[in-house]
């Protein structure tokens, strides 16, 4: 299949950082090294022929049993060129962190906190790395595949 403009550009600009690409069902996807995520995102937003000005979605997937275990998934959208791209960065459990992209898109702030809350992946350089949906005392990260489905954690006592 013919690689799209975005994937071609990425491959030219970052030959060492792109691990694999595909366009399954027309969704352009690039798996990148987690160390270069900030650089790649900045490039995608600023390059004249790409201009990915929307950070539509940021989430993570837990591939329990695989190494690296987590994948952080970014969905970007370019209003000017009407294109979408998916960027994925694999994060191992032993070093469960990735650079924050809040400096590129301010809207990533809450999304990164949500991923931290649900998966326990830390975002380096994030201005406020706290839980967002759950309370501070909550133990574990509920969207991890090894978190028991029916586990209950009642919040006891008033919050000080």
């Amino acid at each position: 299949m013919q690689a799209s403009v975005t994937l071609k550009k990425l491959a030219e600009r970052f030959p060492g950082a792109i691990l694999e690409t595909h366009s399954h069902r027309g969704d352009d996807t690039a798996v990148v090294k987690k160390e270069s995520i900030l650089e790649i995102c900045t490039f995608l937003r600023n390059d004249e022929s790409l201009l990915y000005n929307f950070m539509m979605d940021l989430t993570a997937v837990d591939y329990l049993g695989k190494d690296p275990r987590f994948e952080v998934v970014y969905h970007l959208f370019s209003l000017k060129h009407n294109m979408r791209v998916r960027i994925k960065a694999r994060v191992p459990e032993s070093d469960c962190s990735i650079d924050s992209i809040v400096l590129v898109w301010i809207g990533a702030n809450w999304f990164e906190r949500e991923v931290y809350d649900m998966y326990g992946i830390t975002f380096n350089g994030h201005p406020e790395m706290r839980r967002i949906l759950l309370y501070e005392e909550f133990e574990g990260h509920p969207l991890r595949k090894d978190y028991p489905l029916k586990k209950r954690q009642p919040l006891i006592g008033p919050i000080n």
């Binding site: 399954h24 979605d57 301010i106 809207g107």
Partner: protein, 341 residues
Amino acid sequence: MCEYGTWQQVIPYTDRLNYVSPLINNVGYALAVEKLIGVQAPERCQYIRVIASELSRIADHLTNVAAGGLELGAFTAFLYFVEARELVWDLIEMLCGARVTANYVRIGGLKNDLPDGFQEKTKQVFARCRELWKDVDKLLTKNRIFIDRVKDVGNMPADEAIAYGFTGPCLRACGVPYDVRKSQPYLVYDRFDFEVPIGETGDNFDKYLVRMEEILQSMRIVEQAFQQLPSGPVNIDMPQFRWQSKDDIGSRIDSLIFHFKTVIEGIKPPPGEIYQAVEGGNGEVGFYLVSDGTGKPYKCRVRPPCFPLTAAMSRMMKGRLIADIVPTFDMINMIGGECDR
């Protein structure tokens, strides 16, 4: 939670995302799974999905404007629009038997075809809705008290709105004409003639005006869809992926077998990952699905439109009065079910 049920069992959960416009979420999820499988629903089904989505959007905007008015003291406007919403919900009830938790769309099709007399009923409802719309327009759009509370409150420059990830009416109020229905038409939206209203400053008054106009545009879409509505089946002819009709299960052995297979094991989309966006009441509702080839979704992620909007509350409220929180929060239309999922 979605990852422990079958693909079909996710649909009722999507109702609860934005519970004022559940049908759009249903449609978005079904489209996402269909994209994952690589099939397209029949044409008649697509038209009915458009009708259902637009009815939902009307109900969503009516509720938002009504509640927004109510919280600023415009109780009459609230009553008028709630009457209109009740009428739209009557239509949705006629369509699928439920008013709020619709659970109407199925993967590869629909629960049922349009009921008899639906088109005539819609015509009557729209006639009444337009009357009510005019009344509310008179009550609010030039109302000095309302304007004082919403104008120049909650402004957002377009570039910042984009950086925050705004979509839907709130983004369009900032002057950015982005609508998923226009820019990446799904279903049969490219066959309809409708306008995408935009505002200028992104303040609450613009958001209100955009929503008011979109109500009228959605009615236009529904009317055009009825005119173009083709005949034919509403479910795809691929029994391993679709929901079997109850009549067939009772009379045909193959349907019964597929019923057991799809209910117990679930339908099995090929391994892969996709992202599908639809234009929801509040903005882009995106579904990111990962399949590992089994009957259950490996990952089912919803991109909530009001999460980034809520994130920008502090930005919009900087240097404002406490009283300004009320209209601003109303106009971003934060829906809890969608915000925290």
